[in-house]
Symmetry: D2
Subunit: 259 residues, 4 copies
């Protein structure tokens, strides 16, 4: 394979404030699919803080399959997310959808997420490659292992090695779950790239009750952390409610993961 910069040689830790991806403790990223309002994200952040959480997630620019679905609050959402971060001291991650928004994102977030639909978006990979902010690179929903490695290599090629990989399920013939979570990818990617790898069982299954067992399996297989969607009222979430944990379920999960 032509991953020349990465290639498993450097066992790399990625640090975000006090949080270490690839260290001894698994990292827990939690939050809502979308930032829905100032109150919503701040309240959620406070509750997660009490239970325990390493990084807060919240989408502001949302890649939605239909133009008629909620598209996110945009910059307003980023502001609320940053406010939630400042109040609680928890670093935040949000998704970048086009290169021209990169300065905006950098102003508000600690980790820039490249979503599954953009893993093959080489313009975007180049743009985040020129930053030195940590990048969370989700696997494309139909990306082979080799393509995913090369997407990370693009970012490293342009100078940024602060990359956290995230397995989030691949598209297969089966339709019981939203995607098929490919946990073998975790030890494979750690070996091939040397980068930290986390798992997103929310998108990886699309089914709330599967998040707990797949989170435990992720840690057992060697993942450096998990990323889960949490909502105070999942049935009324503006997006992805069916795969979001409520606060009590999150508490239960966090305690099982950490202890």
């Amino acid at each position: 394979m032509s991953n020349i910069i990465l290639n498993g040689k450097i066992i790399k830790k990625v640090k975000v404030k006090d949080v270490v991806f690839g260290g001894e403790k698994p990292v827990v990223i939690a939050g809502s699919c979308s930032v829905e309002s100032r109150e919503q994200i701040i309240e959620l952040a406070k509750k997660l803080k009490v239970i325990g959480v390493d990084v807060l997630r919240g989408g502001a620019f949302k890649p939605r399959t239909s133009p008629y679905s909620f598209q996110g609050l945009g910059e307003e959402g980023l502001k609320y997310l940053k406010e939630a971060s400042e109040i609680t001291g928890i670093p935040v991650v949000s998704e970048l959808m086009e290169a021209s928004d990169i300065e905006l994102l950098c102003k508000y977030v600690d980790i820039i997420q490249i979503g599954s639909r953009n893993m093959h978006n080489y313009s975007l990979l180049k743009a985040v490659g020129e930053l030195n902010k940590p990048v969370l690179l989700k696997r494309g929903m139909s990306a082979t292992i080799k393509e995913w490695i090369l997407a990370a290599e693009y970012i490293a090629y342009y100078g940024n090695k602060n990359i956290i990989l995230c397995e989030r399920g691949i598209r297969t013939f089966d339709n019981y779950t939203r995607n098929t979570l490919d946990l073998a990818a975790v030890p494979i990617m750690k070996k091939e790239t040397g980068l930290p790898v986390i798992v997103d069982p929310s998108h990886g299954t699309g089914i709330r009750e599967l998040i707990m067992p797949l989170s435990l399996a992720s840690i057992a297989v060697g993942a450096d952390g998990i990323m889960v969607e949490v909502h105070e009222d999942p049935d009324n979430a503006l997006s992805d409610g069916e795969q979001s944990l409520n606060i009590d379920q999150y508490k239960d999960l966090f305690n099982k993961i950490i202890y």
Copy 2:
């Protein structure tokens, strides 16, 4: 399905200069994967002109899986493509990879291509939706029929209904061919959207000798045209040589398609 603007009602023809997509005659788009030099694209255009061709293709911004592969000539490539167009009178199509290049593309090309890797790139779909230039929307390599319809709907939603769809194969478990060409998608998309649909058997198979039979099958299944890669010396092409026809093979194909 929530395709409200499109939904099969309007049988729409897309006109590009004198070329009509969705008319009685199938349209043939041919050219090289990448514009490799001024001479290369002009020579190729002249030869295709003699044989017969409706639209010339040539990539200037190339979405390559590896950062170490040839990335295209960029604006320089677009200039050569336009020059080839002016000399021969053939309209041209080239791929847009990021929204910020849209004015550049518009200056040089007659049809803007959204490639397979960007079908889910909603920022890009929005950007071309705000133009009134024709858009060639390739199917994402793992896009369901529904997702492809909604990607077209995004473009229409932002105001541009000059959309030409292009089936180019989907990713499956089989690895004999580069992709699995899904010809059932042609009558399905025509019915669901009312838009013209063409087929790209070069990417759809990745194998030179399969281009002819699959082109004939595309026309038989009801496609409004085909898009094929042609190179004067396929074995020395800078990209996609193994799936490019040489000039004689193209001549043979063109004659079988048109008569």
Copy 3:
């Protein structure tokens, strides 16, 4: 590849009474998914005879996903099928599901079908390999090209080279159609094995209105024939009604294929 006996060298025709697979004229196999009753199959055979048909199909042993679905009439169904054959002079094909039924099948039918679910059933392949009756080998729904070639090789290895291959769609992520018809497989299998290849657009799409365009595409891509499901009253068929043509639709299709 280790297809030593087959391997494209011998361009082989398979003869079934007066019908030649791999000859100049495409072969049309038509009939109902299941033999439903004596009257049903005889009436259907007579109507198909008037329109034109080369081989009559009718299932007696049915591989059904659920034990609660209609399982076929068994030997009774085979008797009716043979009676329909004798009345009309049309040769018949039916599916073998276990090796112990092989003598029974041989008594009643002219071509033995190995269905998609049994393409990997090596005991069955060995059993039909020891016959000299023609075998219709459908592609497994998730079989790679290589596995399909080797399944044919099994039959040839045990001595029977009267093999007709049938592409019937593969399982992919897309769920608009029942399967994804892989028409590139037709020229590939002809080249790799030298055997005649037909296409089943009924199972390949699962949608009645797609049978016509995909049949035309099959012939255009070089198939040696097609196999379609026909029912006098598709809405009340005991199985596969939604992908069966009615008599008028079949007439229309037959005339387009043959002339």
Copy 4:
């Protein structure tokens, strides 16, 4: 779904001599892909016995993709397997490939395996449904969750509820691993059927070094056991050597799973 007999209601344990599938302790099935000789299987059984093992596996009838690959020792292999069982006291499992061999299998083995390629072989499912011996039902390599449930339902429908399910990976576009292990299937199948579910990470990955992490993940996700291939000299195994553990690796795995 039409799984009427199973449907998650009965939390069922399957007992094989002293071994309980679905009890508190995970079950470990280990052994070689094929029984290669009397000495090989007896020596292996003795070594596994010392380390710890619940059930010994050994293939006698092998479903091989190519007719030119080693096809197994047949009844001779079963005899050696039984001898190994008698010497060590470990119960044994082996695969049934055709219904006519069922009495033979029953004479020699404690658990009858239905392999992945035969999950859709309804004749075979019916045959084992009429026994009261435990059946190990592997998931078809391209079986949906629903189809797998219905395959188990076939067995139950014909009277046998002593069913152990085994996830062994599904076929996807990715080719780094032999299959994609679908660990979400474990909690899903337990809930939908109430049956014990084990995991086969050897076939599920095809890569020796991935067996350990995926075994740990299997237990973490809630599997009732694992099935792994072990060989004293994997590089010289007659089949599946690249996915077999050596004795030391097995010892390491067993200790991590059990304690």
